[in-house]
């Protein structure tokens, strides 16, 4: 694994970019390829992939809070819910805004709620923060259950979809592949309209989700490699030392919390739009735990790790639906085993790898240098 990583890191930049682009193209094309084994039987694969992207998005957001800033948040689903409910209220329940207008409002509302929750609670110690956030997640759900204005248990339906481009038939039809016995054919019967968002047209949602995930990965990288990212990590490592090195730790913790809330709210709003219907049961505490598991399974602090974690957590249960009854059981077992065998997650942050690489380079250079001197003498 490390060897592959090292080889990749030492590739020239254009090659790296090309590989990334190919990977992205493959990701976009995935639902059209109808690959055997991977494609989920009995469930719309596009829909499954959309859910996977939402988990990935949430994992990226939660990773900022948990992985970078080291704040244990057990109530992340609360932000997801606020995003979803804001979108639902604005586009269906109390107003009829277009979705694209409601998403920014949803995201702003969620970010504000993150600040409001964080400002008083981020001063309490880590473990208390866990329980306070857990309480917050539950409060949000219970408020949704009990308040008529939020639809109570019945929930809210007819949430707006994103605007389709090119009307009901889309601009053009994209055929899927068909895997016969040893042959691969274009299946003109089975097509996806570009770009129509509908109940039965899940693939465009996946494309939308994937695009947002890619954008967030970029943003995450930019922020991580800056003063902000360093301040988060320093705070996580040793809050007092960070403060004494001039880091306003409280402000940065709040920033991490708000950023996490922002991403969570965005995911919630997109999710609400795809579902077209939400009720409080969509935001059980279980989901907070699943989100956290996605972050930890992949390796907290590593953005690709958490994306992989999200894929595992969201995809595997869908793929193996025949074991539906046992999925929580298996999932729990997996967590226990993983914790015992790979406490740092499947993919710990790659900095260690990079450091080792650089070490080697230096040694080689050093030897070369000494060699030259020896030759001269």
């Amino acid at each position: 694994m490390n060897k592959i990583k090292q080889r990749f890191i030492s590739l020239p930049r254009p090659v790296k970019v090309l590989l990334w682009v190919l990977l992205a193209l493959f990701a976009y094309a995935l639902p059209l390829l109808e690959l055997p084994i991977i494609t989920t039987p009995g469930v719309d694969f596009g829909g499954v992939l959309f859910v996977v992207t939402m988990y990935a998005l949430v994992a990226i957001g939660l990773n900022i809070v948990v992985g970078y800033a080291g704040l244990l948040d057990l109530g992340y689903v609360g932000f997801y819910a606020i995003g979803a409910y804001t979108a639902a209220i604005l586009t269906s329940f109390h107003a009829h805004w277009p979705l694209l207008l409601s998403i920014p409002v949803a995201v702003v509302a969620t970010t504000i709620s993150g600040v409001l929750l964080g400002a008083p609670t981020l001063r309490v110690r880590g473990d208390y923060l866990a329980i306070v956030t857990l309480g917050f997640g539950e409060i949000i759900r219970l408020v949704a259950v009990n308040v008529e204005w939020l639809g109570e248990r019945k929930g809210i339906s007819n949430i707006a979809r994103p605007p389709s481009i090119g009307g009901d038939d889309g601009l053009f039809q994209i055929p899927h592949l068909y895997w016969g016995d040893g042959t691969v054919l274009l299946d003109t019967e089975d097509t996806t309209a570009f770009l129509k968002f509908g109940v039965l047209d899940q693939i465009p949602y996946y494309w939308l989700g994937l695009t947002v995930v890619i954008a967030m990965l970029f943003a995450d990288k930019l922020i991580k490699n800056s003063r902000v990212g360093r301040a988060w990590e320093a705070t996580r490592e040793d809050e007092d030392a960070a403060e004494l090195m001039g880091v306003p730790t409280f402000r940065f913790k709040l920033l991490a919390f708000a950023t996490g809330a922002f991403v969570g709210g965005l995911a919630g709003a997109l999710y609400a739009s795809r579902q077209s219907f939400i009720n409080p049961d969509s935001f059980l505490l279980l989901f907070s735990i699943l989100f956290l598991a996605a972050v930890v399974v992949g390796g907290q602090g590593n953005r690709w790790g958490v994306v992989v974690g999200a894929v595992l957590v969201a995809y595997l249960p869908q793929r193996f639906r025949e074991f539906d009854d046992f999925r929580v059981l298996v999932f729990g077992l997996a967590l226990v085993l993983l914790a015992a065998w790979r406490p740092e997650g499947l993919f710990p942050p790659k900095r260690t790898v990079r450091a080792r690489q650089l070490e080697q380079d230096l040694e080689e250079l050093e030897e070369g240098h000494e060699g030259e001197e020896a030759a001269r003498a």
Binding site: V124, R125, D127, I131, V132, E138, V328, F331, A339, P343
Partner: protein
């Protein structure tokens, strides 16, 4: 807000709240002691409690509690209490062995230990929820259908214990509530004395304060941790027994909300602090009871969590502060 209702029923509401609070407090002990010694939120402690409720239920069913009364019923209940305590203690020890010891040995980060605890919690709850399937594989489901049926829904022992109600003036008191409060507080006092006075208790406190020095002084850390889990399990078993006396119904996921509440109680009183757990539990129970009278029962859980947040803001180390372990900066 319904102040009239609150004030006209204040005694009942308070007693009912105290009874619930006493159960929270007993469960909270498990959280607070493990946290004091390991700085770990034992997320799976809720399942320790849940298994206790089933042990109680099954014992009562197996011994024919539904048809018994008088001395016979009391004997059955004592057997059920014993069964609940044994079951909970067993699960707690199992948890320690399987989910925590490997991690403690590796010195894993605390977040990972929490994840392991969450995983163990899922496994335990799901095993109970899938018990019909599990027994089905070994062909026992017909023989045990009485016990393993209704795996995913409520299991009730209503009507087994017909407790008297006392009328004092215009106040009705449930004798069960009184028994629950007295028994729970009694257990807590015993435990408090045990931890303060006994050799084992001193070992626990020493390990909580400084594991390395305690180990150098001859306290076996592994054993101390085991005993901590054992005590937490026994107390959760008592809590399970009292809970079943009062509520009479259980389900595979009953532990979750109770566990969260109990942990809230532990934090409320000051985590790591035994007396804090008692106080936190009672305060939480009464606050919930009054709160649901004021705002309606649907707001009960919201009241509990809001209370927690408010108290932590003004007293960041809980009502009584942290005492089992060291004061950590």
């Amino acid at each position: 807000m319904n102040f009239d209702f609150l004030f006209s029923n204040l005694p009942q509401l308070t007693i009912g709240g105290l009874a619930f609070g006493a159960i929270y407090a007993l469960i909270a002990l498990g959280y607070t002691m493990v946290y004091g010694v390991l700085q770990l939120i034992n997320f799976a402690h809720s399942e320790v409690f849940m298994y206790g409720t089933f042990a109680m239920l099954w014992t009562v069913m197996a011994l024919g509690g539904a048809d018994a009364d008088g001395v016979q019923l009391i004997a059955i209940l004592i057997a059920a209490l014993f069964a609940a305590m044994m079951m909970s203690a067993l699960i707690a020890l199992l948890l320690e062995r399987v989910a925590y010891r490997p991690l403690v040995k590796k010195n894993a980060p605390r977040l990972i230990a929490l994840i392991s605890a969450i995983g163990a919690s899922f496994v335990l709850a799901e095993l109970m929820g899938l018990r019909d399937r599990v027994t089905g594989w070994i062909g026992l489901d017909d023989d045990l259908s009485e016990y393993v049926g209704k795996a995913r829904i409520n299991n009730s022992m209503a009507g087994v214990v017909d407790a008297p109600r006392w009328e004092i003036g215009n106040v009705t008191l449930s004798s069960i509530d009184v028994i629950v409060i007295v028994a729970a507080v009694g257990m807590m006092v015993l435990l408090d004395q045990f931890v303060r006075r006994s050799r084992l208790g001193k070992g626990i406190r020493a390990t909580a304060q400084d594991p390395e020095t305690a180990a150098l002084m001859g306290v076996n850390p592994t054993r101390t941790i085991q005993i901590t889990f054992l005590i937490g399990g026994l107390m959760a078993g008592v809590a399970a027994f009292l809970y079943m006396l009062k509520i009479e119904t259980t389900k595979y996921d009953v532990g979750f909300l109770l566990g969260v509440k109990a942990f809230t109680a532990a934090v409320l009183g000051g985590i790591g602090n035994l007396r804090g757990a008692l106080l936190g539990g009672l305060v939480l129970g009464v606050a919930e009871s009054w709160g649901s009278a004021l705002f309606g029962t649907e707001w009960r859980h919201v009241v509990a969590f809001v209370l927690l947040v408010v108290i932590l803001l003004f007293r960041p180390t809980g009502l009584l502060g942290e005492s089992l372990g060291k004061a950590r900066a």
